[in-house]
């Protein structure tokens, strides 16, 4: 999500809140209320966010009221609710990632989300974005985590190995994979590139082999080299972007849509260059899914259909500063000029992440922060 | 030595011999852990009486008062108000007025508000408004214009009187005063104690007064209980305590005194006995009229005392005569003297011991002192 990009909701101890503003009890014949859970920046960000437009548009097209819920713990909030038997008080969740699904499924025995069911426009969703093997989540947009650099201060390397050059010592600021979405995406990208060295496979699973083809050099080796080259890993996207903006280092891990914002604010685009390492970027498709015990499952599916409509896709992409999930989205022709897509998006599938991602992060933490 | 704790309420000095008992302590002890602060004390204070607890620091005076006020509950024994046990009754429901040494005026209230505080919980007497009551009390303590002042702007003596007025405002049955004047300077103490006494008499309120100043105790009380080590040694009117101390402790604590001990040489004659003083080559004649009930017999051990003012001084070798006899004359040398204005307190060395005498004129060198056998008071008789 682009507002995620711009206004990163990643963690720290602090973020959002439970924004459900209303009850879901409504009698027959009255206007039904659809409660949509999402992350805070989807509806409330200082620059732009799609929430307000979506609500107005949806309510004008359907005889329904839309209520947003933005609990601070995001999807974990519903995991907790389900686990404590408190009942899930929303109809669908907007903004699920692959990892969210993996985590939810590992934690809960029962199903938190219902099957997709029939959603108009689902067929228009781009093939590579479908990330739920159990067909619950419907992708509605995607973003790419790449490097952003200040072209007036440095020329970012083209490859991962380039980051290890002495020239780029101390040049990169990344984020904590344990607390930040961009940080985690970048970590996963390095795993995809260098392999996991069997970290997560304690006996059962397969080791991930890296695209670099070197079985003896895994992501931990790469990070050891990065650390030796003075990489900075800060807590959140905010921290990192602030430090980068203040010129503490010329390169930062961020989103490939950075120039859209820079342009909005009239900044020098030269200072906001995008670099896809090895022509790749880690893709973070976002999906939506209906809760298993939604009060308004059908209305929720109508909402999903609505979101996949071409004009809505276009609006979401622009307002969330991301890329549409469907091939039919209506976007201004110059959108791609500023919002760049990599030639070769990479991402881990649900199956690859399942049972591994925790171990990958933990192994990285132990290496990086060992005291 | 035995402790004589007789309640001589039939003494001629006690002003209310038949008045009902207002406060009674019955076999009361108070222990803190291992330490016994009050040890089996039984007292009866009559209505309207000015009753004083006097004793050295740590003897349990404050604890006794706190047991009466209800700030502490006795470990053993009963406290009764007008015959009713008050066990478990919290202080706010005991109808006592308390004045502390520190006065404990509420610094955030004016003098008037301080005095009025207790009227939040008790109606003023019928026909009197709250404000009138406060004005009356401030009048009573001679501070008619102080109502709007800050307690901290008052002198110590004025604060003390405000504390009195405050304690009296709700019309308590019993007034408890814990060393209410010890923070004041000597002259002020003298002035205020007269005032306290006057107020007490005017209201004829039962008053229990704690002090360690024996002069104060003598000056104001109807009866005095001399306490030592958690127990009372004597309970009697001031003159009795001063002139006929029941124990050696009382003799030495209340006023200056010279205490002797020795063995009776022969049977009493003319109301006197001859006593061979311990470790001294002297035989002294001692009157037995004022002593305890037991009349000393030959061979008994006795302790007796003679007040400094009863030791008459002459120059060295001058005879001190009584009628025609020269007797009870002791030779001593002046050790030190303190000029007190009216008199000089002179300390004499008499052998290894010290004697205290009072003189008007300075003394020096060797002197002879003597006393009238009737001025001696037998404290204690230990039969052979």
């Amino acid at each position: 999500s682009a507002e995620r990009t711009g206004d990163g909701d990643e963690g720290g101890d602090e973020s959002g809140g439970d924004g459900s503003d209303g009850s879901d009890g409504e009698g027959d014949g009255e206007t039904p209320t659809l409660t949509v859970a999402t992350y805070a920046n989807f509806i409330d960000a200082p620059s732009v966010s799609p929430g307000e437009w979506l609500k107005e548009e949806f309510e004008s097209r359907f005889d329904a009221e839309l209520e947003w819920a933005t609990p601070d713990n995001e999807v974990n909030y519903y995991v907790e609710r389900a686990a404590s038997g408190a009942g899930v008080d929303a109809d669908l969740y907007v903004g699920l990632t692959t990892e969210d699904l993996v985590r939810v499924d590992e934690e809960l025995d029962g199903d938190l989300f219902a099957e997709r069911g029939s959603v108009d426009g689902f067929d228009d969703v781009r093939e590579g974005l479908l990330f739920d093997p159990f067909d619950r989540a419907v992708p509605f947009d995607t973003g790419y985590v790449s490097l952003v650099y200040d072209g007036t201060a440095t020329e970012a390397p083209e490859t991962f190995d380039g980051l290890l050059d002495e020239e780029h010592a101390g040049a990169l600021i990344a984020q904590n994979p344990g607390g930040s979405a961009t940080g985690r995406a970048f970590l996963l990208h390095t795993i995809n590139r260098f392999g996991d060295g069997g970290v997560a496979s304690d006996g059962d699973g397969e080791a991930v082999s890296g695209e670099d083809g070197d079985a003896d050099y895994d992501y931990l080796d790469y990070w050891a080299d990065l650390q030796a080259n003075d990489v900075r890993v800060l807590g959140s996207w905010d921290d990192a972007y602030t430090a980068w903006s203040e010129g503490e280092a010329p390169i930062v891990v961020s989103y490939s849509t950075d120039q859209v914002f820079a342009d909005m604010e009239g900044e020098n685009l030269e200072e906001h260059q995008i670099r896809f390492l090895n022509d790749q970027a880690y893709a973070n498709p976002e999906g939506m899914a209906v809760f298993a015990d939604a009060d308004e499952p059908e209305l929720a599916r109508e909402f999903m259909s609505f979101v996949l409509e071409p004009d809505v896709q276009g609006e979401i992409a622009q307002r969330n500063v991301a890329f549409p999930a469907t091939g039919t989205a209506e976007l201004p022709s110059d959108y791609a000029e500023l919002a760049q897509e990599p030639a070769d998006p990479v991402t881990f599938s649900y199956d690859e992440l399942q049972g591994s991602v925790d171990a990958w992060v933990e192994a990285w933490e132990r290496q990086f922060a060992g005291n | 030595m035995t402790t004589v704790g007789s309640d001589r309420s039939d003494s001629p000095d006690a002003p209310h011999p038949d008045a009902p008992v207002a406060v009674e302590l019955d076999g009361v002890s108070k222990r803190y852990g291992d330490a016994t602060a009050v040890d089996d004390v039984s007292l009866r204070v009559r209505e309207g009486e000015f009753f004083t607890l006097v004793g050295p620091s740590g003897c349990g005076k404050t604890t006794t008062l706190r047991l009466i006020a209800g700030f502490e509950e006795p470990t053993v024994g009963a406290v009764r108000f007008a015959g009713e046990s008050v066990a478990g009754v919290p202080p706010e429901r005991r109808d006592v007025g308390v004045v502390f040494q520190s006065y404990a005026l509420f610094p955030h209230m004016t003098v008037g508000e301080n005095v009025a505080y207790g009227l939040n919980f008790a109606e003023p007497p019928e026909g009197v408004t709250r404000d009138e009551r406060v004005a009356d009390l401030l009048e009573l303590v001679d501070l008619p214009d102080a109502a709007d002042r800050d307690p901290e702007s008052l002198s110590g003596g004025q604060q003390q009187r405000v504390a009195m007025a405050r304690a009296l405002a709700p019309g308590p049955d019993v007034l408890l005063l814990d060393e209410p004047m010890s923070a004041l300077d000597a002259r002020l103490r003298e002035r205020l104690r007269a005032q306290v006494k006057r107020i007490q008499s005017e209201l004829s309120i039962t008053t229990i007064y704690v002090t360690h100043d024996q002069e104060e105790a003598l000056a104001v009380s109807d009866r005095v209980a001399v306490m030592n080590d958690g127990a009372h040694e004597q309970v009697a009117p001031p003159r009795t305590v001063y002139r006929r101390p029941a124990t050696r402790f009382v003799a030495e604590f209340v006023g200056d005194n010279n205490v002797f001990s020795g063995r009776v040489r022969d049977a009493p004659a003319d109301g006197e006995v001859a006593v061979a003083v311990d470790d001294a080559d002297e035989t002294l004649r001692v009157g037995v009229a004022n002593g305890p009930d037991a009349i000393p017999e030959a061979g008994d051990r006795v302790a007796f005392c003679v007040r400094p003012e009863h030791l008459r001084v002459a120059g060295d070798g001058d005879a001190v005569r009584r009628g025609n006899r020269t007797e009870n004359a002791l030779r001593a040398t002046v050790a030190s003297a303190e000029f007190l204005g009216e008199t000089t307190r002179v300390t004499l060395d008499w052998g290894d011991r010290e004697l205290l005498v009072r003189t008007v004129d300075p003394l020096d060198g060797a002197v002879t002192v003597a006393f009238d056998p009737d001025d001696a008071h037998v404290i204690d008789v230990e039969p052979q």
Binding site: G19, E52, R103, N176, D238 | A104, Y117
Partner: protein, 608 residues
Amino acid sequence: MSDHGDDARDADDHGGRVARLRAWTEARALTALAVLTSLTLVVAFYYPTATVLVEAVVVDGAFTLGVFADVLTDPFYFGELARLLSGEPPGVVARALLSPDRRLGIVGFTAYQAVLSTVASVALGLPAAYLLARFEFPGRKTLRSLTIVPFVLPSIMVGVGFVATFGQNGTLNAALSALGLPPVDLMFTLEAVVIAHAFYNAPLVARVTTAAWESVDASAVETARSLGAGPVRAFVDVVAPQVYPAVLTGAALTFVFTFGTFPIVLALGGFELATVEVFVYRLVRDLNYAEAAALAIVELAVSLAVLLAYLRYEARNATSTRGARPLPRRSLVPPSRSARDLLPRAGLAAYAVVAGVVFLAPIASMILASVTGGDGALTLDHYRFLVERQQTGAAFQVRPWPAIRNSLAFAGAATLLALPMGVVVAVLTTRRYRGRTLVDAAAMAPLAVSGIIVGLGLLRGLVFGVEIAGWRIAAGGAVAIVVAHAVAGYPFVVRTVSPGLSGLDRSLVESARALGASRARVIRDVELPLVWPAVVAGAAFAFAISIGEFTSTVVLATGADAYTMPVAIERFIGRRLGPATAMGVVLLVVTGLSFVVIERLGGDHRGL
């Protein structure tokens, strides 16, 4: 008999009953308050926290110490100490600990940085205490009131201010290069973290120390002087030992706060300096509750141990210096040109420079950021954004005015709730009885438990509620926020009020009781008014805690209409920091004014 008489008697009876009822309630008011306070604590703190912490030892419904043992014996967390805990002989471990490449583990490192931060906070706080306690100058009281402001600044704001001040292109380096000095590279070092911790905690140290310093008896100093000690020596021998317990209070609290630090380390230090709380956060986020809870318990144990050690020390050293004649304050303008007059003031001037860099520059940078546009020019755009958001924001979005209003309303209400709670606990802890330490510890626990765990606990315990007899009892929204804030703030009320109460002349209380007032009534009529300055100071802290509180606010807020200023700041953080910093400046101004007002209601006091 006439009806009239009956009526009169009824009325009498009625009046009597009312009076008796009032007396009865009054007599039990203290007990009732204590019970209510305990209930509040249980509902809003102990029960919720317990639901999380218990997961350390109950996994899948079965009791186990396995998770705990794993954490304790993991060298990643406990360094060389883990080897001891896993059974290696102490000698070997001791030798390992002394070797140069020893491992501290995360817990060890967290403690290490907390110790450094504590030292720095004390070092930066003491000169301020010296200035505030010993010198008279215009604005002294206001300055003293404002020392609490850093307490409420969200870490993100401090991060912004610090990067702008200490960064490569920051104010400090600009100043250094203007002076022809080489630049310093402070960012992303332990030093930066330690300075930021000092930014938060040195004012706290200064506050406690000032209060203690002001209560040193001048006679003691004069006696030392008459015995031959010069001014410096008299300070070292007489003043310092009496101020020392207060410094220790400040140090203990600083240690506890920095031991639980989280966002600031990662913002200014980087992941190499990760602390325990970072891992608690990550584990909770990944729903790995067992290990998170085990780590949180370790954290709690360390913090509580420090607090308890300090409380015991405080109890032992409680010397009441009632009626003391305070040392007279001196003028900041040197009365003469002698070295004796000039040196201390020169020292203070040097300190003012350091304090300017550490305390003022970050705040100034923050303010500057709020009026700087993307092109570096001055602009009011960010404030315009706030106005616009206020006017056009959707109902479900966070808007500035409701955030300000909520912050003030919650803080006011939380303060009103924290005060009786704190006072009751202070009353209980100033009495002497067995198990007092336990009460003390229980009362201080909210300071020592991981904020993340409390947040999760509140979610489970309050927001989801408890099922009792088929009813689910849940609480969210404004009331729950206020309660949670009060719980977080009341330990400060305890710590400010309790020294005052224990220093009160007991006979004041007893006088009031003898005059007919119940115990509770005495607290209201006598004790509270007399420790009023301390109550106000406690109120200021409770207010500050509530204003700055974030974690439980976002958990408990059940709609945009319950959001507070820190939440607004967090929401307004974008790629450009302008809107958030503008909101930060609003927070700064609103709270700064609040504190000046609040403390004007009080006066000088002992304690925090």
